[in-house]
Amino acid sequence: MNPHRRSLFILVATVLVYTFLYAPIVGLILYSFNSSRTNVTFEGFIPSFSGRVVMEGSLVKSSPCGPFHWYCDLAKNADVLEAAGNTLTIAFIATIVSTIIGTMAALALQRYEFKIKPFTQLSLYIPIVIPEIVMGIGILTLFSQFFGWFNGLLGLTGDARLSMGIVTVTISHIAFMVPFVTLVVQARLQGFDKAYEEAAMDLGANEWITFRRVTFPMILPGVLSGALLAFTLSLDDFVITFFTNGPGSTTLPIYVYGLLRRIITPQVNALSTVWILIVFLVVLLLQWLQSREAKPQH
């Protein structure tokens, strides 16, 4: 290929990749400012501010929030706020727990030799490779079996019965996030020289202080990457949450899915935009944290 044609190829490839990656997102954000309530086509921005919402057919003519009408609408939607609260609660708890368990697993796999180690390592990939829907059904079966059994045994009835809810969603999220965290931290530990830990002990630090002052700060960037991955996985998980949630534990993806089956107003787009913004900020924050950290040692 001559250089001219090669650069043309690169240009086309770049445009295509960016179009398919980002055009949907840009469109989604644009439509969150749509004046059309049905949101089928873009009918322009909401033109003006006014004391109250003025509609003309399905078009919003003016609103107290102007172009940000759907965002204000969103903020008044108690269901959305509850779903957002649930999503964040689940994500935070599941991230913290799975990061701790995942990191400990990675450390154990790195430093100890045991008979079933190859099996343990392999078992990490199973939750990642099997279809999420299979895992969702599996977890659902497990919980209902377990709950039925338990409720029967303790003779629980009515509201006292154990049932699906925010706890089961959180436990399921932890279960499928742990392998991701372990693999990310393991990758970080690959180049970790155990001489650092030996040096700390040589200087008088016991095992715990060695971990706190030397090992942990050195693997922190890896742990943070694992935690971030876990957090984003939890935030947008649909399938497993779908099978394990119950009354009062609706998360944002489940809520949006519910909305889609009824009417799609630009409120959904506004919600998605806020969501994207939050994830984007978290990623930026983490990148900044990592660039301040000491670079990995080999």
């Binding site: 020289d193 001489a195 630090a205 030397v214 040692q297």
Partner: protein
């Protein structure tokens, strides 16, 4: 104070190799390291030096035998409860801490007061000439400077014994020579016992009070540099340290300080000094003689003198390396160029007949195994 800073008694360390075989990385080693001594373990890669050091530091436990530090049995005492400190081959400086924090780490672990820590860290950094570098990260230092931080970090703890695992291995030759002198001076000034691991014989000879020459997990000989070089006890040591000529033969007569060995290749008897322990009359042995200790003369009637023929000469400045044939026997001979001549090899020409004299005190009789 105990006479010995560190003692290894019949220590064995077994490892399982990746192939599943059992390996004696350290094989029945006895060592007594005296207080205030500069002691080196010398041997080629894989002979068990690092493993021995790690058992003293407490990173490994002996499979058999015992380690004593200052007369106390160590058993499974963890590293953080042993009064020894290590300078690691890779330095192992904490990358997320400044130079100051690195050096202060060990004192913090002792629970020292902040002012006390500051005073001692600054003194340690001054000792290794790193004043003004406190706030740098290890990454921002040269190899030689990192090496000094590792040294300061260990020395600031004022250990009874400092363990150094090839500490100069990563430095270039010039810096290495400088650091050798500095380390030796530091050791004498502080009076701390140094246990120094190296595969560099010159380094071991110049720095050490005593050396343990190791091979395949065993100590082949332990002694002062002079003893090791001048009276190697076996062929391994004679070959590993410096160079030697070896001749095979059989002991014909033996007394405490003289042995007569018949050398079939020379069809003659050579008088030498018994150097190995437990030599017996009639035993098959090696006779070992260093190239610089053979005298070439025009003609001589003295003991242990053989007629040979110059096979090759190489001029290398201070010396001329000569190969002499006596029948089928080839001997390396190094002649010092004591007189300045423009044709230094003119004294010896290939094919020239010379007499070689092997002085009995230079001619060592060594056991065959």
């Amino acid at each position: 104070m105990n006479e010995f800073a560190v003692e290894l008694r019949d220590v064995v360390k077994k490892f399982i190799t990746p192939e599943g075989n059992e390996l004696n990385a350290v094989d029945h080693v006895d060592m007594q390291i005296r207080n205030g001594e500069f002691f080196s373990m010398l041997g080629s890669s894989g002979c068990g030096k690092t493993t021995s050091l790690r058992m003293i530091a407490g990173f490994e436990w002996p499979t058999e035998g015992e380690v004593y530090i200052e007369g106390k049995l160590m058993g499974h005492t963890p590293p953080f409860q042993r009064k020894v400190n290590t300078v690691f081959q890779s330095y192992a400086l904490f990358q997320h801490m400044s130079v100051y924090q690195n050096v202060a780490f060990g004192l913090e672990m002792e629970g020292a007061h902040r002012d006390e820590i500051k005073k001692r860290v600054m003194r340690a950094l001054e000792m290794v000439q790193l004043t003004g570098m406190e706030n740098r990260r290890p990454k921002q230092l040269s190899g030689g400077q990192q090496q000094r931080v590792a040294l300061a970090r260990a020395l600031v703890k004022t250990p009874d014994v400092l363990l150094l695992d090839e500490p100069l291995g990563a430095l270039d030759l010039k810096l290495r020579k400088e650091m050798q002198l500095e380390l030796k001076a530091l050791q004498q000034q502080l009076g701390i016992t140094f246990i120094y691991v190296t595969h560099d014989q010159e380094e071991a000879l110049t720095m050490s009070d005593r050396i343990a020459v190791m091979s395949r997990g065993k100590v082949m000989q332990m002694g002062t540099p002079v003893e090791i070089y001048e009276r190697p006890r076996n062929r391994f040591v004679a070959e590993f340290i410096g160079e030697s000529n070896f001749l095979e033969g059989q002991i014909k007569s033996l007394s405490a300080n003289e042995a007569s060995v018949f050398i079939p290749a020379l069809n003659a008897e050579v008088t030498g000094t018994p150097a190995s322990e437990g030599l017996v009359n009639g035993e098959q042995v090696f006779v070992s003689i260093r190239p610089e200790k053979i005298h070439l003369t025009e003609h001589s009637e003295r003991l242990n003198t053989f007629e040979g023929e110059i096979a090759s000469t190489v001029y290398i400045g201070s010396n001329t390396h000569v190969v002499v044939h006596i029948g089928d026997v080839r001997l390396k001979v190094w002649e010092q160029n004591r007189i300045s001549r423009l044709e230094p090899s003119s004294f010896y020409t290939n094919g020239q007949k010379v007499d070689l004299m092997l002085m009995p005190e230079n001619t060592l009789v060594l056991k065959k195994d």
